[in-house]
Subunit: 138 residues, 3 copies
């Protein structure tokens, strides 16, 4: 049984879903394991992770618009010292997740055909987001 | 230390919560481990996983109705080519999760008394949903 | 490769976010591993887990108020036999999560600077909540 860890950064340029599937899959392949568990962890509280459809890009447009509707900038928030988009960013992070685990089966991540792994940036200004990968298996 | 992986299908017949606890627990028991970590992974973007109350069935009725209210079919969506229930299905999947991990302690999943593992189908028409199980431990 | 499991209780006194980071980190340190994966599991369906900002306490005030707005006590619920706060508690649990995994890197949890691990109690009355920890690594 073997473990590997790796940290990489995503330079975000505003609210959007940034696909990380190929960066992650490539690193996993380099570890040359057949069976295992990959964990993806986002080290932030105003950006999150999402597994979502990687085909029609309008799905991601709708996802972003939806989260802006349910966690609007003009909510009755006490926390407003870091910008109007900050408290909604925390809410969107709470509604999604900062950690995802995906089984590795026969040397490949068990993602479905239409599943991609995305970093979901909730802040308006550019940020550097750190994502930690952990793989265990053999 | 040992690993096992297994894939099974759930044939869904419309929007509902389909309990998978006994199928999953049985497979876990067959692996005969004492301590470990089970990961349940749903290979879809319009169906998800939920650990919820397994006692009063009205909880599941309310859960389904609630998600239909907060992600309605008549939302202002751009993505509408796959049916009115498709974009709401992606939103409900984003709001819940496609992966759950449960510790195995003394040969049993550490689920609480009232916790059941459910596949949450968000599409109206029947689907075959693939769920991947990964268990590591000894 | 080694595994450890541990269960601890949090005595809650009403709806709030109860920080568990130091209790969890201390137990992890005692296991003396360098690389691994920690899984935190909440054995309930009306309380959940959240990784959120540990700095400005108004973030947690806003989080709690937000979830009370989107899952209000006066919703059209069928399940009302366990108190007005029970069905909203199930909804809030479904919208967040009962399981979190965090990689262990160089002997430390890979939490970001502003990330704390919280038990999110959704019930009004005091409860004893059981949290299971599972650590695998070496």
């Amino acid at each position: 049984m073997k473990q590997s860890v790796h940290t990489f950064e995503v330079a975000t340029r505003g609210q959007s879903l940034y696909e990380c599937t190929s960066v992650i899959s490539q690193w996993v392949r380099q570890q040359q394991l057949q069976t295992g568990l990959l964990t993806v962890f986002c080290r932030h509280t105003s950006a999150s992770l999402l597994i979502q459809e990687n085909a029609d890009p309008t799905v991601r447009v709708d996802l972003q618009a939806y989260f802006n509707r349910i966690a609007p900038e003009d909510g009755p928030y006490e926390h407003d010292s870091e910008g109007l988009d900050d408290m909604p960013a925390h809410l969107k992070t709470a509604l999604t997740q900062v950690q995802l685990s995906v089984p590795l089966v026969s040397g490949r991540l068990a993602l479905g055909t239409w599943q991609g792994i995305y970093l979901f940036e909730h802040r308006v200004r550019p940020h550097r987001r750190e994502i930690v990968l952990h793989l265990i298996g053999e």
